[in-house]
């Protein structure tokens, strides 16, 4: 009898704990999803329905909002694709190249140089903005794709080098040594041995860079003017100023702008998590 009592007590205690756990999880889910819900909900409302407020669920979805928003941001979206693509590819390749050097071709002082390179990641961008604008202007790249591609590549170097160095550290040195014995110089070793083995690393770094560059705002704001080479983030920010109070169009634009990275998170979460952890924990 007694035993049964304490067993059921234990059981009800467990149930309470379970309820508490799921309650906390639900609260967290509400916190994270409510803004996304209102954004999507608002983006589908007609101007008329918007007058009833953003929270009540949309009755007759107005998909034309997305078309309207897209027409306002199509050029910047194209710009962002070009800039992100080139900057991601170039900075990933340079990261692989330098990461290999810092991992497999160590010499006295190379770990110190590596540290100085990586620490570049932690400097607040405000301390370089004035010379950056001047430099990009003086080489004639203000308001061009290449101005932003070079900027993103340069400021991506610390993190891509770090990620690739950490990746190459997992390759045994013997692999490199045996290639040397077979008569490869360092370049041959890199292209024939290390590079093919670094494809998983490439996936992590490329997706890390893609998400960062796609979402970047400050350099785009500083280095472009008008829609010619303006990235999507700047265009989205401008939607606010140009269209009076049309929150539905603005939210549709926001949803369109986050889709590429959102989809990357959903489909490549493992790679993204790996990149975030490698970039920070092993920093």
């Amino acid at each position: 009898m007694n035993k049964q009592n304490s067993l059921s007590k234990k059981k009800s205690g467990k149930t309470i704990k379970k309820i508490l756990i799921y309650l906390l999880l639900t609260l967290a889910v509400l916190f994270y999803l409510f803004p996304i819900y209102t954004a999507v909900n608002t983006s589908l409302k007609s101007n008329q329905e918007l007058a009833y407020g953003p929270v009540s669920i949309v009755k007759s979805p107005e998909f034309s909002n997305y078309k309207d928003a897209f027409l306002k941001i199509d050029r910047p979206m194209f710009n962002s694709f070009v800039i992100t693509l080139f900057a991601t590819v170039i900075s990933s390749c340079l990261g692989a190249w330098c990461g290999f050097g810092f991992s497999k071709l160590k010499f006295k002082g190379s770990s110190l140089i590596f540290l100085v390179v990586v620490l570049g990641f932690y400097i607040a961008p405000q301390s370089i903005l004035i010379p950056l604008l001047r430099f990009i202007g003086s080489i004639g790249l203000y308001n061009t794709y290449w101005g932003l591609i070079i900027t993103h590549t340069a400021y991506g170097m610390p993190i891509t080098t770090l990620l690739f160095r950490n990746h190459f550290e997992t390759l045994p040195n013997e692999v490199i040594e045996s290639a040397r014995i077979d008569g490869c110089n360092y370049f041959g070793t890199f292209f024939r041995i290390a590079l093919p083995l670094s494809l998983p690393g490439f996936a992590v770094v490329a997706i890390f860079q893609f998400t960062n560059i796609w979402n970047e705002f400050l350099y785009g704001l500083l280095l472009t003017q008008g829609t010619n080479s303006q990235p999507l983030t700047v265009a989205i920010a401008n939607l606010k100023g140009t269209t009076v109070a049309s929150w539905n169009i603005q939210m549709a634009g926001v949803i369109i702008s986050v889709l590429p990275v959102l989809l990357a998170y959903i489909f490549f979460l493992k790679l993204i998590v790996k990149g975030l952890l490698m970039g920070s924990v092993k920093g």
């Binding site: 967290a28 407020g53 050097g101 570049g120």
Partner: protein, 290 residues
């Protein structure tokens, strides 16, 4: 080609790019900060430490920016670290749908700050925004707030948006740290009769010091460099009540074209960055020689 030259060629792109764009540019900023350079053209005269003296003695907006940066940092980190730890522990418990929960917690990380700023401006808009609309709908009209239109609440609103956007990162690092605790240790505590709660409080969480150090460093760095959220949610307003260092620097240098003065704020931000990374640097050096 000699070995040395080959090695040099491998690390040259990093040295040149980071050397010029980070360290060279920073040096240039420091140099500009000692001049009165403003408006178009180039130059300005050498004024020594005048810009810094003005910042620290007479500039009220700078003081506000500094205090706001600290406030934002305190709220942001004060919430993000415990929240991340809590969510990581919850994920670590035997729960159904763990991967869905994890995805939801990480989802805001995929949003650009620009997108979050737009969404949260909409949330915090006092008349038609989602939060006040929601409060009215459930009959809590009395709890509605002026949010971002109020001098007192603006910086808190920005902090909430920042927490929403970035807390997934600390959840992620803690979750990785907790998953990395060897099962034998957890089992041993179980055998000793520790409850689940005790096991986390006495064994697993105290083992998360490295994770905490990592999170702290990254969050500190991000709270110094946050720009988009403030720029787009409040524009530093109402008035200058929510101005922070990064937006104040940008406004001074590029909207008012006071490059010398802006450069001195940029230099101060560089110094703050260095102060933040010193512990990180020490930790790295230590692990390098271990």
């Amino acid at each position: 080609m000699s070995k040395k030259i080959q090695i040099l060629l491998f690390i040259l792109p990093a040295i040149v790019l980071v050397g010029l764009f980070v360290y060279g540019f920073t040096a240039y900023t420091v140099q500009v900060s000692l001049t009165s350079w403003r408006d178009v053209g180039f130059g300005g005269t050498f004024v020594g430490l005048d810009n810094y003296i003005r910042l620290f003695t007479t500039d009220r907006v700078f003081k506000t920016s500094l205090i706001n940066t600290l406030k934002l940092t305190a709220i942001f980190i004060g919430v993000t670290i415990p929240l991340g730890l809590l969510l990581a522990v919850l994920l670590d418990l035997k729960i159904k749908g763990r991967s869905i929960f994890r995805l939801i917690f990480l989802l805001p990380l995929s949003f650009s700050f620009v997108a979050s700023a737009a969404m949260w401006t909409w949330m915090f808009s006092p008349n038609i925004g989602s939060i006040n609309a929601f409060l009215r709908a459930i009959g809590l009209e009395a709890l509605t707030q002026p949010w971002i239109t109020s001098e007192e609440q603006a910086i808190v609103c920005i902090a909430i948006a920042y927490i929403w956007q970035f807390s997934g990162f600390s959840t992620l690092v803690y979750y990785a740290g907790i998953s990395g605790v060897p099962p034998e240790i957890s089992e041993a505590a179980k055998i000793d009769g520790a409850s689940t709660f005790q096991r986390y409080m006495r064994v697993i969480i105290p083992m998360q010091k490295p994770a905490t150090l990592t999170v702290l460093m990254i969050l500190l760095m991000y709270s110094l460099r946050v720009f988009d959220l403030v720029w787009l949610m409040t524009g530093g307003g109402p008035g200058t009540s929510s101005e922070i260092l990064s937006t104040f620097m940008y406004r001074t240098a590029f909207n008012r074209n006071r490059f010398g003065y802006g450069a001195s704020i940029g230099t101060i931000m560089f110094v703050l960055s260095v102060i933040i990374i010193i512990p990180f640097f020490l930790k790295l050096r230590r692990s390098e020689y271990e």
